[in-house]
Amino acid sequence: MTATVHKTPRAEERTGPAGLPNPAPRPEGEIEALKHVWRAPKGLNFITVVNNTYVGLFYVGTAFLFFILAGILALIMRTQLAVPQADIVSQGTYNQLFTMHGTMMMFLFAVPAVEAMGVYLLPNMQAARDLPFPRLSAYAFWAYFFGGLAFFCSLLFQVAPDTGWFMYPPLTGTKYSPGINADFWLLGIGFIEISAIAGAIEIIVGVLKTRAPGMSLDKLPVYAWAMLVFAALIVFAFPAVILCTLLLEIERAFGWPFFIAEKGGSAMLWQHLFWFFGHPEVYIIFLPAAGMVSMMVPTIAQTPLVGYRLVVLAIVATGFFSFGVWVHHMFATGIPQLSLSFFSAASMAVSVPSGIQVFAWIATIANGRLQLTTPALFILGFLFIFTLGGLTGVMVGMVPFDWQVHDTYFVVAHFHYVLIGGMVFPLFAAFYYWTPLASRKPLSEKLGRWVFGLMFVGMNVTFFPMHLTGLIGMPRRVYTYPAGLGWDWLNMTSTIGAFMIAAGVALFLFDLVRRFRITEDNAGNIWNAGTLEWLPSGDYANRSIPRVTSREPLWDQPHLAADVEAGRYYLPNAPTGGRETIVTSPITAEPQYVVQMPGPSWATVLGAFFTAAFFILLTVKLVIPAIVCAVIAVGMVIWWLWDTDPGPAQATVDIGGGIRLPTYVTGPMSHSWWAMVVLLMVAGTLYACLLFSYLFLWTVSPDVWPKPDALPELPWPLLPAVLYAASSLAVVLASRSLRRVPAGGAGAAGVWPMRIALAAAIPLVVAAVATDLAAQSGTGLQPTESAYGAVVYMFVSLQGFYAVVLVLMGVFTLARSLAGKLDGVRRGTFDNTMLLWHFAVVQGLVGLAVTALFPRLVGG
């Protein structure tokens, strides 16, 4: 169906159909059945679609919409700053504008945009039929869509956040920000962070478990490596910001003084947690973009990437080092020199991998022959801008230099060079490069040159002068400035440049509206690329799933496209009668089983809508409607999950080439087990951040830590510990007896021991949390009295939250047992509940140990 542009191979190059897994021609009606299974819903129901190609496009489109909106805010700011002491906007409005510009560009544009590209591209690049959790990606998208729009609308009512995108307390505490502006940020963004984590889990499992057979990690497209590391960064970085937004919102709502110095809290705690997220965030944005560049450069040079292994190494190293630079944003806070120096060293280290990638791209270009297409122009522009941004990045990594330029227009220039250069230019290159996958016509090459020219020149005219503006003293986040300090002409230049960028983007939009049409007969492989996303495809993705033997299969196996399209490769049909794809082993990508995947459902869209409604209503303090929405949202999620543990459709299915695979597995091989483990890594990181907060607050204010005699008496902490252990034991017993329940034998009397054990575990875990709470409040400790009280009750509250989730999951699991949907084989639901259960219990025990033992250790 697609016009793939590759030369017809000579006969002897072809291994011949005999060597391929499935015979052709395929049986009558097979393709129709495949189409039927994967079709997108029609009419109004279309919005329930879950196929990654549609959700990915919605996702990219929405992210781009927020790019435009946040860009308009920037234009208003640049207009205000064009001349000294202008009054285009008021002080209050300006403060909302820069806060919203930063917040939206980071949380509503950059992260979602790269995640969206991942949702769109990854399955195609790996020749999977879809991501392993299609409903999760749809939910993540819709949650972001509704939440993001509601968040933006706060600006229209003049209640948008106005304290800067990094929301430093105490300015953001109730004392200095009494309105709901800050709450909009905390709840709105806290919620969008959760959506990002959902996407990251999807991407990790997708990259590691759903690849084309034979695509071992050494043949993984660089983009997939980048997305893997990207998702890992989200898993380890986002919990920190979720925790600090949670703490601040609790401080604002209930007066628990985490960040209030008079009560032993610390404004620096926020900065540590926020930047522990905030610096990896830069690489969360950059790595996927660099990954896209590593896909595009080989195509535009028509030669494989030089130094594939070095580039993978660079991506992995960037991921690690990005966690060693957070204090880099806190060089001016008075932290001792030696501590700062460690971060200075790490800032040097993190710049090396970028150098590797830049040289790998240059070498690739030298090795091939560059075609000066629009994507190529954007990539060259990226190399120019990003190299400059990287060099200023090394400068701000030097502590003394940073003391001068921190919080000035120099860093504004630096991070726009890094982010626009490192992310926006590659993204535009990607728009031009991959549009032929989605649209009947590619975008205009002629207009593309103008778009590039305006954006490139505009970008440099806007931001280059800002380096100087900052060095001669202009701080960031000022709505006005006096004349006579030499800033006037620099600012005027920057404003002119900003409008040039805007003109470029407007021209791009014009071209998009004119030429972008989503169809199944897309323009196809017009660049003669070598990777699998350019295989002919439909709603069902590829007709059959190829076996991969190299990194550029379309270049090395000239007949691949035709053979895939003829159904000669794996799984050319829908043997279970539903949506399915092949799950492979994480390193060598050998087929393990065929996963059955859920299709469209209103549960995802409505669940996302009501989740967003819950957060927004909570922000505007409509508590009762918020609770109603929360209950509906939970109901939707339960509805959605009810049919996602289908059990084996048939014992095994034949995917071709003599391979028979099971249709259902549980345990460490299953994709759902992997997803749960990744989720637990998120939860564990969150907990580690809370432990850090406890220790950090102690180092700052040991005087609010209690003397040992003010703690609960020693037998007290043992009681919840015993209850926790007992609940875990009950779950272990339930697991053992479930193993003895034969498949389909749910009606037999043998299922009752499992049900009883699980039912017993529920009150035990609730009792554990309750006794812990009773022990702490028994000493008269109040969460509002000091940072110590606040953080101790935070431990208990977090356990309370897990207890609520465990009750829900326990009851859900029991309900499935009663409905006959749980047995010794079909036990995925139970396994997930069990994993979370043990995790929460271990975490509870750690919390008990810390709160009971630490003050005794240090307070002698």
Binding site: L313, V316, F321, F323, G324, L338, F342
Partner: protein, 120 residues
Amino acid sequence: MRGARPGFLTKMLFLNAGLVLWAAHFGFVYGLTGVVCARGLGTAWPAAVPFVVAFATVVAAGLSLVVLFAAVLGRGPGIAGEPDPALRVFWRSVTGGVAVFGFVAIVWSGLPAVLIRPCA
């Protein structure tokens, strides 16, 4: 996944060993100086800080070199016994490269200990 052959987690850990060492070293030296300086643990402690940091640096850098040599010699999980030669070469070079990175970054983290006074 399980059995005699090393599992996914072991292989991944070895692949990233150089940088895991860096992370551990980094966390240790930063945490140590942070607590010692924040709590003002006497004057004896800050004097000991450079020694402890230097010692930790030597240990961590040494271990990263061990990983590097293992990779060069074709030993270690994910390398030894890997039947696919391409994958073996990949695992070897990335493990070695990560170890080199870890080594450089560990040494860089250790440098301040000899140049900067603690807690000033």
